[in-house]
Symmetry: C2
Subunit: 218 residues, 2 copies
Amino acid sequence: MKPTPITSACLAETMPDCSNEKALRVLQAATTVFLKHGFSAATTDMIQREAGVSKSTVYAHYANKEILFIAVIHAECTAFAQTLRGIQFQPGGLRKTLAAHGHAYLNILLSPSGLALYRVVIGEAPRFPELARTFYLAGPHVIASMLAEQLANAVQAGEVDVTTVGLDAAATLFFSLVRGEAQMQCLTHPDATPSAAQVDQWVELAVITFLRAFKRTV
Amino acid sequence: MKPTPITSACLAETMPDCSNEKALRVLQAATTVFLKHGFSAATTDMIQREAGVSKSTVYAHYANKEILFIAVIHAECTAFAQTLRGIQFQPGGLRKTLAAHGHAYLNILLSPSGLALYRVVIGEAPRFPELARTFYLAGPHVIASMLAEQLANAVQAGEVDVTTVGLDAAATLFFSLVRGEAQMQCLTHPDATPSAAQVDQWVELAVITFLRAFKRTV
DNA sequence: GTCTATATGAAGATAGAC
DNA sequence: GTCTATCTTCATATAGAC
């Protein structure tokens, strides 16, 4: 298992074939179908129908089902990472920073497409290991990397003391707290949708715990 | 989303058809195949071959592929829960209790079959929501319930103060810390196997963080 | 590039002998 | 109950016209 140091990692940008308008429609339809059914249960018929094109149009742009799947997941991961990177970190002390990051991450993670992407990527990881690693870099790695930078400031400001575990580990631990029960509940209760209050509660518990563990008692 | 209070929940015991020896072989073969390929990619041919029986023997005991899948996951969840319940909690203070529970949970969770079961259950949750909830009760819920009982002792002994979050939430938070990065890494890096030292490190980080957050500073 | 029509193979499930 | 052989359906992918 790799140590996987947290750096400002960059996803290999995937350039979906946008030469033709139809190619994009196929990609979008494939995204819908694959996220809904997973790789194996999805059929090219469903994609073809969802896109409103014929079978050979699909194959004109994507050599086969696997390649189309890879294109879909790559695009989703890229979008995922972009959204995470767009998080605004308003100044206002560590508590606010943690809450903001926690909320932003959970909102993406627990969204229908966030959950669906996780399900598909994790479920198909043995068959598509590259995609799984791409997902890790685009999601958990990116967000932890961002928080680690913020934590560095907080350390310098004397707000926090993470010397026992280190900056990167501390950031990772915070997101473990945020994600933990929230994601597990949503994944295993696919019919229920968490209330906003429930999400607030999950974030709040993570923030409380993290601050109790690492806040500098001046 | 349900509050899901932590009680000593009990799984509905599934009685696999053991009337005949062949029925058990089919179930075991199906377990192997489904955990390896998931529901959709697995075929009844694979199961039939793995079991060394003919096609109609499979259908003689299990009406169809879905029912066989349900039987497999139920059995795995039951075994999972049994193993968790078998954890010995040697006395020796909170730190030891936490480390013991963390290790036991991670060893099961990160085992090949533990990861495979998680992948399959989570991936197929939209299609088999009942199984997903069964999994939640057999895994995260059971282990958190057990730790919550131990924490109650620690609270009474004055070792720990969890009044800000509550007993159940504290137990859940601990396992979020334990599971978080460890499971994410293993799920997204299916080719790599974590070293024993790495597992120790994950548990240690969780214990350190939890104790810093909730240990009573006498 | 895009369509209709089709080839080819495989998967789930069953029939009927023993 | 268990087997071999088979039925039916459907999925991936291609051929050939426009």
